[in-house]
């Protein structure tokens, strides 16, 4: 009843006018985010003449493309896992590890910088450090007689790329997980102590169950972050390492797959993978917020 009254008093044009305020955002999102993406998704299910088909998706299941997805997924998984573990260790060290408080600020600031220092310059930094004439390579050879390249190390490989990606994955983990660690209440630890729990028991039965959703969620975010990255890998390896974004890059530039709609399917596959990873993140995030509130 009160709702009805307010409506009756206000001028009739008010509701549509209020909606007008959202027009710029909706137009922007539609034109430059949603429609372009839909165009790709729809294209993945169409033939060149425009008839619906599943053939494009079926064509993804050829050895070279499957191999590209597989190595992409493996790299993303490895960088997300290592990024989570190392990032967690550093975040734990600066929140309750007993190191001086003065270290916390600089670590977080540096994480903000390093998580944004991706792309072409990052690959230059690693080439200058661990490339064939890089500083660390040369020092290891001259001082210790270790030639990492004869030992099988290569920056342009699975582990090489993983090592480089960690430079932005670890800081991202630190930035996301530190607030979660700070949200852990001291009382929980004290309560566990009073009940006679050991440190390991506290971690296994109290801390980790609470943190699990945010750990898994951040893992999903790191996974998607690394899966979509193009510039770092491209500048590092050219097109010699066939990960999905590199294949797609070459396809957009010069139709190397010789089938435009297979390109759409390839891009659609990327959205599916990052979509699943981020869907997990959002879902797990919602579960964590109950605790951190």
């Amino acid at each position: 009843m009160p709702l009805h009254d307010t409506r009756a008093r206000s001028p009739r044009a008010k509701l549509p006018l209020a909606w007008l305020g959202l027009v710029p955002f909706v137009a922007f999102a539609l034109l430059f985010l949603i429609l372009p993406t839909m165009h790709i998704v729809v294209g993945a299910f169409r033939t060149v003449d425009g008839t619906p088909t599943l053939q494009n998706l079926a064509n993804l299941f050829q050895p070279s493309i499957l191999a590209a997805y597989w190595i992409s997924i493996r790299i993303s998984f490895a960088t997300a896992l290592l990024g989570c573990l190392i990032g967690f260790a550093i975040a734990a060290a600066i929140t309750f590890g007993g190191v001086p408080k003065a270290i916390r600020g600089p670590v977080l600031t540096f994480s903000g910088v390093a998580s944004n220092f991706a792309g072409v310059p990052l690959s230059f930094a690693f080439l200058a450090t661990l490339g064939r004439v890089g500083l660390v390579t040369v020092l290891l050879r001259d001082w210790f007689g270790i030639n990492i390249y004869t030992l099988g190390f290569n920056l342009l490989s699975f582990w090489g790329l993983t090592l480089v990606y960690l430079f932005f994955q670890i800081p991202l983990m630190i930035l996301i997980i530190t607030p979660a660690l700070e949200g852990m209440k001291r009382e929980w630890r004290e309560a566990a102590d009073i009940l006679g729990a050991t440190g390991a028991q506290y971690w296994r039965m109290v801390a980790l169950p609470i943190l699990t959703p945010s750990l898994l969620g951040t893992f999903a975010l790191l996974f998607a972050n690394s899966f979509g990255a193009v510039a770092t890998a491209y500048a590092l390896t050219g097109s010699s390492l066939s990960i999905v974004p590199i294949v797609l890059f070459a396809q957009i530039r010069g139709d190397v797959l010789q089938d435009p709609h297979l390109g759409y399917a390839l891009a659609f596959g990327m959205i599916v993978v990052t979509g699943i990873a981020n869907g997990l993140y959002v879902w797990l995030r919602a579960r964590t917020e109950r605790w951190t509130r």
Binding site: A18, F32, L33, I90, T109, A128, V230, A231, F249, M270
Partner: protein, 262 residues
């Protein structure tokens, strides 16, 4: 005590891992002259006219992107908070989409949707492509910009401020520009500096849209020269560091407001 040792071990590993590439890059960038350290690589970078052209192109792009981003995000975030609180999750979801859809897929969509044969042939002209690239950058920065502004709005009483301004006779544009914007300026600036850091080195969109931006130039130099890339990496790192430093600086100015909130 054992925890303390582990903390130091973790920090030491992190320290070495993050410091070595920086030292390596700086050292490498100084090696251009045989047998001694010199700044030759930097000189050759700064003397390259393409460096100046692409760098100023990307700076201009970043500034326009920030302008467009602020014009879209601030009124929207304000309006959603004031009038459509129930739409907030939806709008927030849309602003997070650029984190889900890889940039390469978004730009692929642009190229196909706005090609010369379409209704809106933006890629047909240089200006049109510039516009498209700017909108692409605005899309990339949307998650950061929106979240920064929305967090800023949470700290102020949007409704009371708006009603006060309205009863003094202010219209919506005046309210947004002279009441809301100054109140969330710190948040807007943080978003702006982050956008700047993202746009300056962006590679994929600029390369695929064929625009002479800094990112593709970096890649080109990396493929063709030895010491200049290291010098460029040091410069790029300094720019990122500078942007993050500015964010810290502006948020320190609002430290009082922050302390009250938490």
């Amino acid at each position: 005590m054992r925890a303390k040792i582990w903390s130091w071990v973790a920090l030491a590993i992190g320290f070495i891992y993050f410091l070595l590439p920086l030292i390596g890059t700086i050292e490498f960038s100084l090696r251009k002259r045989r047998g001694e350290y010199s700044l030759d690589a930097y000189r050759s970078v700064f003397e390259d006219p393409r460096f100046r052209e692409t760098f100023s192109y990307s700076v201009a792009m970043a500034l326009f992107t920030i302008l467009v981003g602020v014009l879209i995000v601030v009124p929207t975030a304000y309006w959603v908070r004031l009038r459509f609180p129930r739409l907030r999750p939806v709008v927030e979801f849309v602003t997070l989409l650029p984190l889900v859809i890889p940039p390469i897929v978004i730009v692929f969509g642009y190229i196909r949707l706005y090609n010369t044969g379409s209704i809106l042939p933006l890629t047909g002209t240089a200006m049109g492509t510039n516009f498209l690239l700017m909108m692409g950058y605005a899309t990339l920065s949307l998650p950061y910009m929106y979240r920064a502004v929305d967090t800023g709005l949470r700290a102020i009483d949007v409704r009371t401020l708006s009603e006060a301004a309205q009863s003094l006779g202010a219209g919506w544009p005046v309210i947004i520009a002279r009441v809301i914007l100054p109140n969330v300026l710190v948040a807007v600036l943080s978003g702006a500096f982050l956008t700047f850091a993202i746009v300056i080195g962006e590679f994929v969109m600029a390369a695929l849209l064929n625009r002479p931006a800094f990112g593709p130039y970096l890649q080109l130099i990396g493929a063709n020269q030895a010491y200049e890339p290291a010098a460029l990496a040091v410069i790029a790192f300094a720019i990122t560091w500078f942007c993050m430093g500015l964010i810290q600086l502006v948020s320190r100015f609002s430290a009082h407001g922050r302390a009250k909130r938490s």
